[in-house]
Amino acid sequence: MAKKLKVVKSTISHTWDHTKVGCVLLEEGKAEPFEPGQKPTLVPVWDKNMCVRCGLCYLFCPDAAIKRGEDGYFEANLNYCKGCSICHKECWFGAISMMEER
């Protein structure tokens, strides 16, 4: 005898069965307008007292997530950051620490 599975109604309004067959996007264009998937578990945090604004973190970021702000200090866009912690490793002054995102 096969076990009977309980059917649970989901409370989320937008589930997989609301998408089109095969998860095909019917709109024309590229991936640009969509937000990338999940956010990283580890996130770079700058200590502005130690940072000398040299830009090494910006140079070595493979995801082009780090950008210069108006004040000259660098910031990571957490939509694009994947948490590889290259910037933390390459910073000469130890200004970047990897923190768990809340």
Partner: protein, 242 residues
């Protein structure tokens, strides 16, 4: 390297043509980093292709699609060479090498045949580069664009998943590969070799191999044999021969 005598990343253009929205690389990817740095170099030099997401024509060969001789690098330049024969235009070819095609990781991995083939086919400018040395790479791309004939760049791109190391070590691994002379950075202008980054004292090969899981099966005998071979090749390069 004249323009980049100072190690100042802020002198580079801040505009990104390599857009992060669309690329699906793993974290700490060497290829993504290499491509991004190449874009920095090409900033003013070319009219950007509209439509393509990476804004530059590219081909991604999968290991299964290649013949055995292509995998060993003897005929790996075939698409490039076919493209050359078509017209009078000159091209800059970039090869991002993450050493994944070789299959078994044997000492063969370190023999880069592509640059030698390119030199033999009469490319005007041939060079090897690594994203761990960004200003060297950017300089080489610019020289390749300026050269009158065809040019070829071989770019080592460390792969954290394939090679078996932590994603934060991507830059370090590239540096180690150059410092222990398994991947020497040189350029070939009209057939004459020149080392662009020359370390007076080389790092032992074992340090580089022990950082990665893919060389876990290497025995001490193989490592010492590899060390001797590397020394010979590097001495040749220093003398300007190959």
């Amino acid at each position: 390297m004249d323009k980049f005598a100072l190690y100042v990343p802020q002198l580079l253009p801040f505009k990104e043509h390599f857009l992060p929205e669309a690329h699906r690389a793993c974290m700490g990817c060497g290829v993504a980093l290499g491509v991004r740095q190449v874009y920095k170099a090409l900033e003013e030099k070319r009219e950007w292709m509209k439509g393509a997401r990476w804004e530059i024509p590219y081909k991604q060969p999968l290991p299964g699609n290649l013949t055995k001789s292509e995998q060993e690098g003897k005929e790996g330049l075939r698409p490039a060479l076919l493209q050359i024969d078509k017209g009078n235009q000159t091209h800059l070819f970039l090869c991002f090498d993450n050493e994944a095609v070789e299959g078994k990781y044997s000492p063969k991995v370190f023999k880069k045949a592509h640059p030698a083939v390119a030199v033999a086919r009469g490319f005007h400018y041939v060079a090897t580069a690594c994203p761990s040395y960004p200003f060297d790479l950017i300089d080489k791309v610019r020289r390749g664009m300026e050269s009158e004939g065809n040019s070829y760049l071989h770019i080592l791109s460390p792969c954290p998943v394939g090679w078996g190391f932590e994603s934060e070590l991507t830059i370090n691994i590239g540096r180690y590969a150059v410092e222990c002379a398994l991947y020497p950075l040189y350029e070939v202008v009209l057939g004459s070799y020149r080392l662009t980054i020359d370390h007076p004292k080389l790092r032992p090969v074992e340090q580089y191999l022990s950082m990665q899981k893919r060389f876990a099966h290497f025995k001490q005998k193989e490592i010492s044999a590899l060390q001797v071979e590397v020394g010979k090749i590097y001495d040749k390069l220093r003398a300007g021969k190959m």
